[in-house]
Symmetry: C4
Subunit: 267 residues, 4 copies
């Protein structure tokens, strides 16, 4: 494998006009935390894993002493009520470590989503700000026409005057999805946190709007504890990843080495 591949670990689900929700690691990990909590609470079912040579070449060691390579995961959830929709979720350990890989991974997922019949999506990301105002989430869309659908939610759609770009998967999903007639919304949670510090408060803001849009009910009471666990895990991955990158740059020899980290995996 040079490249990116999605491996089914269960049968391809038959879904009815599903909506795609993305929550990969990023600034403050706000999307990762929000979407991770949501799919756990909904008891969504994992059915596929994505591996890529554009992730860092290392494995994470679980508490059980077993390992897994860095990966993204796809889950689905079937609507329980008439006013709900089937959902496909994407979460994961990492985004691409090189610019080219972002395009490849997003296109690979989009190919896969088309097979599942996805025609709309919501992506999530953090927006670094120096001082967060009290304004709600900032939203951007794949096409101006979509704004109408989301105007009733507590989302600030004046992004064009505040934000210039979205770097990474959250933006590319929208920008490349357009060419496949998949309409998209990106929820940007303002965070004062340093990029590598998880920001659970902003994650919660995203989660609340997601729940409202998706018309699902989840128990929020375990959020704080879960977030603490996730924070710990994601922080560790980033620490290890940063260390690994700097080490690889330093040595440029790709030697095997184990990092001594007190890492507990919560998966």
């Amino acid at each position: 494998m040079e490249g990116t591949k999605i491996k089914l670990i269960d049968e391809l689900p038959k879904l009815n006009n599903p909506i795609f929700i993305e929550g990969l690691p990023g600034v403050g990990n706000v999307g990762r935390i929000a979407v991770g909590y949501l799919l756990e609470e909904l008891e969504a079912k994992k059915f596929a894993e994505l591996m890529s040579s554009h992730f860092m070449p290392f494995v994470l060691i679980h508490q059980s002493s077993a390992v897994h390579v860095l990966k993204n995961e796809l889950y689905y959830w079937k609507a329980k009520k008439p006013n709900q929709r089937d959902i496909v979720f994407l979460i994961g350990d990492s985004q691409s470590v090189d610019p080219v890989g972002h395009y490849e991974i997003v296109e690979t997922v989009l190919d896969f989503l088309e097979k599942l019949g996805v025609k709309s999506m919501i992506t999530t990301a953090g927006l670094s700000v120096e001082e967060s105002d009290d304004s709600p989430l900032i939203g951007v869309v794949s096409e101006p026409e979509i704004l109408e659908k989301y105007k009733k939610y507590d989302i600030d759609f004046d992004a064009g005057s505040k934000v210039g770009t979205i770097i990474g998967a959250s933006g590319l999903f929208l920008g490349l999805g357009r060419y496949r007639d998949i309409e998209g919304l990106c929820l940007l949670g303002q965070t004062e946190a340093m990029p590598e510090i998880p920001d659970p408060k902003t994650a919660e803001v995203i989660l609340k709007v997601l729940v409202e849009i998706l018309n699902v009910e989840i128990d929020m009471s375990e959020l704080k504890d879960k977030i603490k666990e996730m924070e710990k895990f994601m922080k560790k991955i980033q620490k290890v990843q940063t260390k690994a990158v700097s080490q690889m740059l330093r040595e440029k020899m790709g030697q095997g080495e184990a990092g001594q980290e007190d890492l507990k995996y919560i998966g």
Copy 2:
């Protein structure tokens, strides 16, 4: 998509011996400004977009809150008079961010141009000089025989003694076009501007020669205003791009992040 692809957004036009005009971003953005203004004034029609995993992995947010991925755009214009020629234009947000990508993008465009019957081209670029003399544009060509055709214009063809190389798409189009029997001229506008500062004066010099060669008439009166708008936009892209690159190099983790930029899109 890993790689580069051109997506038709309209039918492939039937053109009569068209000439290709390239104006991608570069030093002082002189080519981008000149060609962008020219095609707007001619009301050329956009018929294809080029996307590449060799562009930075981010989307630009329009004033409308809608996004687009970094792209190049192809326009065509049909001759109105007997002494004019059909034209294919290439402008865009970015050139490749890595050396390999330049070759791939230029070859992809050349493949496409061959289908359109292109046998000649004019590319445009800025030439950083410490002090601009009063000399006109500097011209280089794909083959010495072509000089004759352009001798009557105000172009200095003594480049061999002044300029050693042309980096990026403007040069590669000529150098690689030769192998496809496409003859080419590159117009180098001397600019004292820092690479990242748009230089409208030099853009105007290029524009005037282009208009003369192409035998078209355009209204120059809106040039100043349009240039100001474009300047603002291109400056923003570069600012965002520079920030994005430095950030990606710093983090090397490809995390999604939105840049807070007061970016207005003029497209």
Copy 3:
């Protein structure tokens, strides 16, 4: 060849449920030394070589003035007694110099191992620690179920609380092998050595456990001398490699240059 290929230099051996043992260069070169000594003592037979454009583009000069490109080597050994297993060994000069290459090389080897009927593996690596305690080797596994098989050996399986990640081939073989139903054990030898200093003492600890697991008998008496030879060789490769990388980064022009190194090849 852009990419990675395995070239048979002898017929593909027919093996009976073989186990795969990996010992590529890494921290302290402990795996490379242990596995290299083991296969020499067992008089394992080389049957294939792996080349990759993800190794540095240079050749090593032998004492005979002949050269070879950086490569990995595959050996096999057939069981002599009922309580032994057929073995496939992988050793080599280098690991990938870029992240993407690690995935490609490991997947190329795994494809090859599947053809040989490999269903289990042991990889080896060094673990940088500030102060080595008296604890034995640290072990991690591809699946929790495998722990049971190796509990009787002097291996510490409490890695999850001590080690967070394994970078490079040793970890990826386990992590990617899982998707092919190949079960794996990675032996991590704790070393206080700087990454680039061979650590024969830790190599010996790995060797002893390998011998016990594989149920083979080897003469340990030449270990010290052999390790000294290997040390010298591996140290030279790393020195040259580090010099080459820094030079290539400096010049970025890929010019041919010979490094003046007093390198003796022991192969």
Copy 4:
């Protein structure tokens, strides 16, 4: 074109057991100068050009104001006397700018050489030394058996004790040629010059041995002048290339820019 391709500009010559002589740019440009002079004096015929996306993305501007992309060139020469051999030459503007490209370019040339029936080769390179002793050229070979053939020439075959590695094409041709049963000799000319300073004296030493091995007679009287010309040209390419690389690293935006260099092309 992403990748490397060889374009025939004349019919594929029918050659009788030809020997391949490589002289690409490198330390002191000694190989480039020696082989370039040799093929000019022999009036060898150019029949193919090699382009690669692993060369820097720029064009060189000739004195005529025409351009060419960085390329390598293949020439052939047919034996005039019974004790001579047909020859295929490779010279060029550049080697790969990235490690992966070296493998791709060398393999592409080797594929091509096999079609021409090449079974032996001589590559040339400079060897940076702090103080050049009076010893002759240093030689390394693809297989120990080949030493015998070249023992009668003034070549020092004790490389194994002096030189550890050969970086770039000169070494890879030997190392990868071995797998195609092409036997090879690499002539390393010791040079005290900085890598980027052409060293005509050492080039002359290589040239003299080449002439002797190939059993050809050439007029050496123009050597000094020709070398001066070549020096100037190659120095310019390197200067431009170094500037281009540093600029691209600085901007990482691949913007077109022309370098103001007083470059004359001697081709």
